[in-house]
Amino acid sequence: MEKEQVIYQLVVPGPIEDVEELRVLEWHGDVNQEFLVDELIVELETHKAIVEVRAGQRGFLRQVLGEAGSWEKIGKPLALLSDASDEAIPASLDGVAPLLAAFEVM
């Protein structure tokens, strides 16, 4: 039986009208922190709005790929999360499933 996949990537959500590229405004937690469903993980900034990204599933923040202040395109990976806090981080993002997430343009 295949091992259950327990690492997820959080990607820049979209589509957002007129927006290709956003700036990471603020992470709402540190690496190894657990996020419960609906908790705010990160805020992103467009040319005119703030985008709140919330967890759609429980997970531990393991690695931040887009620090506050960095520019990221829609669909690009922002962070890795995992079901367990000690799950090994894969060397490549190939095949890493997307984290369930909800976003709202404020």
């Binding site: 007129d18 927006v19 290709e20 590229e21 700036r23 467009t46 040319h47 005119k48 520019w71």
Partner: protein, 330 residues
């Protein structure tokens, strides 16, 4: 002495580039004041004034009623009295209401008073079609180019939005600074150090050998897309971003058109008495009949709020590519 290479860059949204220029110049020159609808705590219709109200206070960042004639009139009077007002007219269509104080007073005051009065007024306004219909979409900058005493600039990148605004805030006479609704989602890099874009200096956006496209503002994006498509067909386009319409950098346009032998002018506004008509005549005057010239602009129709009709009216890259194929086949 050699200059240190500029290595540090910052990346800003278009609106932030405008705000950066204003913030730096307002800190440097206390005569600069902002007047406009929603420019205060709201931060501007495109958030291009964000943070300025908090930093400089209500006396220097003033919300006004929806009264464009009065806004430009108060700005022109305040400028004549010694301030450096920037008046924000959210939609260029409504600058029409302020044309009397702008054209008859601000642009004439220096001449009329034998140089005793200067009117360093900036009108910042936003042109262009983006789903808002017949009276919120127009590009009227060509109307203003023919007014002696008035300068007109139109950035296409955050770096020039910053650099041209800096220049505008140091001018001794009235300036109309025209941005475009479709430029605001854009982000772009610029040096961290202050960099001023002088008026009257165009910029090459792309080098090429077969045809010159002279354009400005959002249409630079359309020109770049057309150039990509034409490159696949073996046609090499040179693109000039005029940046400044009055004064106009005719030398750069002539340089390029003289080399390529073909010139296409591209504007989003109407072509009758348009920016392209003026450039075409002046290039012909300078270079003679050797250069083939065509112009592309909006169809002779109002810009609809229907997205299909809007797209049909204003130039797109397919129309530009078609015009260039025709020009080169002529």
């Amino acid at each position: 002495m050699s200059r240190e290479p500029q290595t540090r860059v910052v990346k800003l949204f278009f609106r932030e580039a405008i705000a950066r220029a204003l913030r730096e110049e307002m800190a440097r020159d206390e005569r600069i004041v902002i007047l406009g609808q929603d420019v205060g705590s709201f931060g501007g219709s495109y958030k291009e004034f964000l943070g300025l109200y908090k930093q400089f206070g209500a006396a220097r960042v003033r919300d006004t009623p929806v009264a464009e004639a009065s806004m430009v009139g108060v700005g022109a009077g305040a400028a004549a009295a010694g301030l450096r007002p920037i008046v924000s007219i959210t939609y260029m269509d409504f600058l029409m209401l302020g044309l009397d104080p702008l054209v008859n007073y601000a642009a004439k005051a220096r001449y009329k008073t034998g140089g005793q009065l200067r009117v360093p007024l900036i009108v910042k306004t936003t042109a262009g079609a983006k789903g808002q219909g017949v009276a919120h979409s127009q590009c009227l900058e060509a109307w203003l180019m023919s007014v002696p005493g008035l300068k007109v600039v139109a950035p296409s990148t955050p770096a020039d939005a910053y650099g041209l605004m800096k220049s505008a805030l140091r001018e001794s006479g009235p300036v109309v600074y025209v941005d475009h609704k479709r430029l605001f989602p854009m982000a772009g890099e610029m040096p961290e150090d202050e960099q001023i874009t002088p008026f009257g200096l165009a910029k090459y956006l792309r080098r090429g050998a077969d045809v010159t496209i002279a354009t400005y503002s959002h249409m630079t994006q359309v020109a770049l897309a057309a150039a990509e498509a034409l490159a696949a067909e073996g046609v090499s386009c040179e693109i000039i971003d005029l940046r400044s319409l009055a004064p106009l950098d005719l030398a750069t346009v002539c340089d390029s058109a003289g080399r390529t032998g073909a010139l296409l002018t591209l504007e989003e506004g109407q072509i009758v008495c348009g920016v392209g008509a003026e450039i075409a005549f002046r290039v012909r005057e300078k270079l003679g009949g050797a250069v083939r010239i065509d112009r592309v602009g909006a169809l002779a129709a109002p810009v609809s709020s229907n997205p299909v009709l809007e797209a049909a009216c204003v130039p797109d890259s397919a129309r530009v590519a078609r015009a260039i194929r025709g020009l080169l086949a002529a």
